[in-house]
Amino acid sequence: MERKKSLKQWSMAVLLMGGIMLSAGCANWDGYAGVANEWRSPDVPEWKPGVTTASDVTAVLGPPSQLIALHDETVFYYMREGKDGKSLLLIIWNTGTQTTEYDRAMFFFDKKSILRKYCYSPEALPYESAEEK
């Protein structure tokens, strides 16, 4: 009778331990938002301040994420957001980290829509064309 009771306790313990082990796990995820970062393409043309027009830029990069009006200039602001996350669930110790980066390009045009200045962010996400997106 006592042995039967012990066997039952043993089975319960194994089930419990199995349940705990099954509950442990890990996960990772990533995601993107915003426009395709065509400015990181190896085929992107050389932008020439004083020569390149707003039309040239939109023909290659597409519509900007934002179009910002300054007093005598227009800014085309391109942005791509990339999220990358990892988590580890060990029941007793659980940890998760999510990192978000912004890949950006900015073009300043004068009143005649001629490029005055452009720049890219030092932080870059892997290039992904609009077709892949």
């Binding site: 006592e2 331990m17 994420s65 910002i68 029941i91 990192t99 912004y102 720049c119 030092p122």
Partner: protein
């Protein structure tokens, strides 16, 4: 009765306590004791499994560039800033110029949970949590001639506070609402959404600091003061 209790307390040396030699540790009696001890060990482990800690971390734009040399008011051109730091995360027109803002954020939440070995209650855990974040911001204001008028940068550590909760035993989730500091720096995919906002926010849209024509706002700023107070947030 006392003898029996003492035997149980002898654990693995139970046969040795009885005087037998060599001790027969694998007898039926000792096996039962081992199983009982193992069950106790498992019960303790189960209680420990109900306890635990969790750490959630969220980093935004952590690789933000810093100026190698301080910029000089009236001399530094906006092109110099753009060449070194890249495009700002926010830009806004001002009455006689414009302004750039660069930001990065590191939010960290730590949770410590434990459960009590009481029937029914042991299916829940009691959680104590603490959260804080590091915020880095740089602002550069330029005149119509693209010359730097004013600039400022700051590294700040903010305490988001402490919290306690009772959760189902296998739940791991954030206990702090950090959306006020995590919102995208530029809500570039939400332009048409203002039409669906509450009326005070829609009416404030023309002057809102979200549009890039009326100023900037740092992350985590409470919406109950300043320009946003017109939006009547609750």
């Amino acid at each position: 009765m006392n003898l029996q209790k003492r035997n149980e307390g002898c654990s693995l040396m139970v046969d040795g306590c009885r005087g037998g030699w060599p001790p027969r540790v694998f007898s039926a009696f000792s096996l039962t004791t081992i199983i009982q001890q193992f069950s106790t060990y498992l019960a303790v482990m189960t209680m420990l499994a109900g306890s635990g800690c969790a750490m959630n971390r969220k980093k935004l734009n952590q690789n933000l560039a810093f100026p190698k040399q301080p910029y000089a008011d009236g001399i530094t051109h906006s092109d110099d800033v753009l060449d070194e730091l890249g495009p700002p995360l926010e830009i806004s027109a001002l009455p006689h110029g414009y302004v750039f803002m660069y930001e990065s954020l590191d939010v960290l939440e730590f949770q410590l949970g434990f459960s009590l070995p009481i029937p029914v209650i042991n299916w829940f855990k009691f959680v104590v949590a603490q959260a804080d974040y590091d915020h880095h911001v740089q602002i550069y204001q330029f005149d119509d001639e693209h010359r730097l008028i004013a600039s400022g940068g700051e590294d700040t550590h903010f305490d988001l506070g402490n919290s306690t909760a009772v959760q189902p035993i296998l739940t791991v989730e954030a206990m702090f609402d950090t959306s006020s500091v995590e919102n995208e720096v530029v809500s570039f995919v939400e332009w048409p959404a203002f039409c669906l906002l509450p009326l005070p926010q829609t009416l404030n849209r023309a002057q809102s600091i979200d549009t890039g024509t009326a100023g900037l706002e740092q992350r985590g700023t409470a919406p109950f003061v300043g320009q946003r107070s017109l939006e009547m947030h609750k």
